[in-house]
């Protein structure tokens, strides 16, 4: 920052501040007495035609209030960073106070996380307190994409069903949140051409029993076997190890329409689930994973809660 500021302004502010405070004190001292001509005068202000006010003295304690403000401001400037050139005897900073308060809050909730951190996800999902914390975390960090009811949306998976891109075991869910995922479907538009993409899309439709053109599906089957089985498997059931979706079920991350499937095949997809390890820490992710696992395993979670 030094290249952007010079020490001049700090000195400038400090000098103005201190001179002003001292000048207030001198002014007060000088203005304690006055030379008057014999009797009490009015203040010279007149309202409502003829309403005037005596210029009577202030109570003596009032003067001390003035001096107290001067002493207060000097003590304050000595302790806190008010003068730009002096950081204050207490070394107080707003970021320091934030760090301190945060550390205090973290220390206060740590026993809770220690307790929950040791329980397995299955058991935690049955604990109402842990679920409430998990829901809070979910609504803060996850609802933006997965929606507040965790049922997802266009391009964002539904977390309440039993269909899992990367596997629905507690460990897999926890791993997904901690490290994030990057689901890549490569574009096949150049390799397959428009007709080829349409053929393979019809085959994919037929896999999950949706209405499709059977001739195109026949052609598409061969294209599928040549290009897609590496990830989606010979029967199209996908591979959770690399996040390749199962194409035979009724769950569609993007719409189940022919047009959407053609778009996926032609242009590919690139899905990013961000990593939350640094942002939330392993303790919170553990509770969050338990909440999410419980959404699609509510019977088991209930059983664990008993």
């Amino acid at each position: 920052m030094a290249e952007f500021t010079s020490s001049f302004w700090g000195v400038y502010i400090a000098v103005i501040t201190l001179v002003s405070i001292i000048a207030c004190g001198v002014f007060l001292k000088v203005q304690t007495t006055a030379r008057v001509a014999g009797k009490v005068e009015t203040t010279g202000h007149t309202w409502d035609e003829d309403l005037a006010e005596w210029n009577n003295p202030l109570p003596n304690w009032w003067r001390w209030l003035f001096y107290i403000t001067i002493v207060f401001s000097l003590v304050y400037l000595a302790l806190y960073p008010g003068l730009a050139i002096w950081g204050g005897a207490l070394n107080w900073t707003s970021s320091g106070q934030y760090a301190q308060e945060r550390a205090r809050a973290d220390a206060a909730v740590q026993p809770l996380y220690d307790k929950f951190g040791k329980s397995p996800v299955e058991q935690l999902a049955g604990n109402a307190e842990a679920r409430a914390i998990g829901q809070n975390l979910f609504l803060t960090y996850c609802a933006q994409c997965h929606a507040s009811d965790a049922r997802g949306g266009y391009g964002f998976p539904n977390l309440t069903d039993s269909d899992w891109q990367y596997g629905g075991s507690p460990d897999a869910i926890e791993q997904t949140i901690l490290a994030g995922r990057n689901g890549v479907m490569p574009p096949f538009g150049a390799a397959l051409g428009g007709e080829g993409a349409k053929d393979v899309a019809n085959y994919v439709l037929s896999l999950s029993g949706l209405a499709s053109d059977s001739i195109r599906a026949q052609k598409g089957k061969e294209i599928f076997a040549a290009n897609c089985v590496a990830c989606h498997g010979p029967d199209g059931k996908g591979n959770p190890a690399i996040g390749a979706p199962n194409l035979t079920d009724k769950t569609w991350l993007y719409s189940s329409s022919e047009a959407a499937i053609i778009e996926t095949v032609t242009k590919g997809r690139n899905n990013q689930m961000p990593a939350f390890k640094d942002r939330l820490g392993a303790d919170r992710v553990h509770i969050l994973a338990a909440y999410i696992w419980g959404l699609s395993n509510s019977d088991k979670a209930k059983a664990a809660g008993k």
């Binding site: 203005q31 304690t32 007495t33 006055a34 030379r35 008057v36 001509a37 014999g38 009797k39 009490v40 009015t42 007149t46 035609e49 003829d50 309403l51 005037a52 006010e53 005596w54 009577n56 003295p57 202030l58 109570p59 003596n60 304690w61 009032w62 003067r63 609802a143 933006q144 994409c145 997965h146 929606a147 507040s148 009811d149 049922r151 997802g152 949306g153 266009y154 964002f156 009724k250 569609w252 719409s255 189940s256």
Partner: protein
């Protein structure tokens, strides 16, 4: 034209440093040391009124936190939970308008009473007056009345003086601390608070506020007294601006009283050219702000009418009619009206307008309170999640409903929707909300594909109490179609 001087006071009784000057061009202090005031004890009609109000306000203030209602403290302002209990009513931050209504009523009532009877609030009901009255009572019990107190203060320090002073301050501090505790008891359940005091486990803020409010009571009622009214209180000053010539204020009838002078009871003072005022100075001795009411209206006068009580007793002893100092208006004194004439003028348009507005605000606030729906609903559409495809190709939007049940019993609420064909709630549509609780619940709405074009559509949500259909709230939101 002669000037009316608002804080008109006689130079003789004014601050010595300034007023005692006789010579020209002298160096004087712009600050004066307070001269301690030793008000004499006073009895009579208006003193009885004041004590009545001391008892009434303090029984209410000290007593209210101890009452119980529905197994909770009857009057409790729970700042942490943001719930404000007043007997059967529970106020939420959303009901803030009622506090506004209360403040408007209080302000208009102040205008009204001041326009009719001057500083009635200051003289009878203001906490500063009420606590000063209580503290002066303690002072009189321990140190004696005016003359005894002045003697005691002039006397050198002795064991007797020290013990009296210690006793007085001890009792004052005890009252002040109890007042602080009661005050905090409106915000923290007072029984718990007392238990915490007994076990020395008060929280830092509770401790601070008890001591702060206790210190304010002790300092203001024990030490500052009339200085609070003279130098600190804005209401004192702006009430003076609401007087007019038909406002009943504490007034000395100069036509009747002057010229003043001492005389024997049997002497015909009229023959000697004297007025009714015997110049005994009782009205000055009883004055809590140390002024002489015979100099006319002064800004220091808090309208306590102690001088009326004192003067009436002197008039009785002298065998003169009461009311040399009395509640009267400037017009009545100037024009020598009788009481009936004066009161007719007191009921002037200004007073009637205040009464009208005050009644209108009270009626409106009461009606609104009566019609208050004990249910509040907020619809929060998921901001980032637009339309999505649900089972069967239906289009789904997600909402969160913030349902606030302000009654102290649990209730079930049913949600119905309308505004689009085939629009319906998917999943849960009835929600149980515990007593006096605000709860956020998820809500999914679906329509069939093709029922509405792409874009945003206005929809209505009705939230109705399942057992009591009279309690319902209608909210609007939007449904997005892709």
């Amino acid at each position: 034209m002669e000037r009316t001087v608002v804080n008109d006071r006689l130079p003789e009784t004014s601050a010595p440093p300034t007023a005692a000057l006789a010579t020209d061009d002298t160096e004087v202090s712009l600050y004066e040391v307070r001269r301690k005031i030793y008000p004499r004890a006073v009895h009579g009609l208006f003193a009885a009124w004041r004590w009545g109000l001391v008892w009434f306000t303090q029984v209410v203030f000290y007593g209210l936190p101890w009452l119980t209602w529905n197994d909770r403290q009857a009057v409790l302002f729970d700042l942490g939970a943001r719930k404000f209990y007043i007997f059967g009513l529970v106020f939420w931050p959303q009901d803030f308008i009622y506090l506004t209504a209360l403040l408007i009523i209080a302000a208009l009532a102040l205008f009204l009473f001041t326009a009719i009877g001057g500083r009635l609030w200051c003289g009878y009901a203001c906490p500063q007056t009420v606590y000063t009255e209580m503290f002066m009572w303690v002072e009189r019990r321990i140190e004696g009345d005016r003359a005894a107190r002045m003697r005691l203060d002039r006397a050198p320090m002795s064991a007797g003086k020290l013990s009296r002073k210690l006793a007085k301050h001890g009792v004052w501090i005890a009252i002040a601390l109890w007042t602080g505790l009661t005050f905090v008891g409106y915000f923290t359940p007072i029984r718990e608070l007392l238990r915490e005091v007994a076990t020395v486990s008060l929280g830092p803020w509770e401790t601070f506020w008890i001591l702060f409010y206790g210190f304010a009571t002790y300092g203001n009622a024990g030490w500052m007294r009339e200085q609070v009214c003279k130098y600190m209180c804005p209401y004192a000053r702006f009430q003076s601006a609401m007087f007019d010539k038909d406002t009943m204020i504490v007034t000395y009838d100069a036509h009747r009283g002057d010229p003043r002078g001492a005389r024997a009871k049997k002497v015909d003072h009229k023959a000697k050219g004297l007025g009714d005022c015997v110049d005994c100075g009782m009205c000055v001795q009883v004055c809590p702000t140390g002024i002489d009411i015979r100099s006319g209206l002064q800004y220091e006068c808090i309208g306590c009418a102690a001088c009326i009580d004192a003067c009436d007793q002197v008039m009785d002893r002298m065998g003169y009619p009461q009311g040399l100092i009395r509640y009267s208006t400037t017009n009545a004194i100037d024009n020598r009206w009788d009481r009936a004439q004066m009161i007719r003028r007191v009921l002037r348009p200004r007073v009637l307008v205040y009464v009208g507005i005050l009644l209108a605000v009270i009626v409106a606030a009461a009606a609104s309170l009566q019609a208050r729906v004990p249910l509040k609903v907020d619809v929060l559409r998921d901001r980032t999640s637009l339309a999505r495809e649900a089972e069967g190709g239906r289009i789904e939007n997600v909402y969160r409903l913030q349902i606030m049940n302000t009654r102290e019993t649990p209730h079930r609420f049913k949600v119905t929707v309308g505004g689009l064909p085939t629009l319906a709630v998917a999943g849960e549509s009835e929600f149980e909300i515990p007593a006096a609780t605000s709860k956020q619940v998820p809500l999914r709405l679906q329509i069939d594909r093709g029922q509405a074009g792409p874009g945003s559509h206005k929809i209505d949500l009705d939230v109705v109490d399942a057992e009591d259909p009279g309690v319902s709230v209608k909210e609007r939101s939007v449904f997005l179609v892709r």
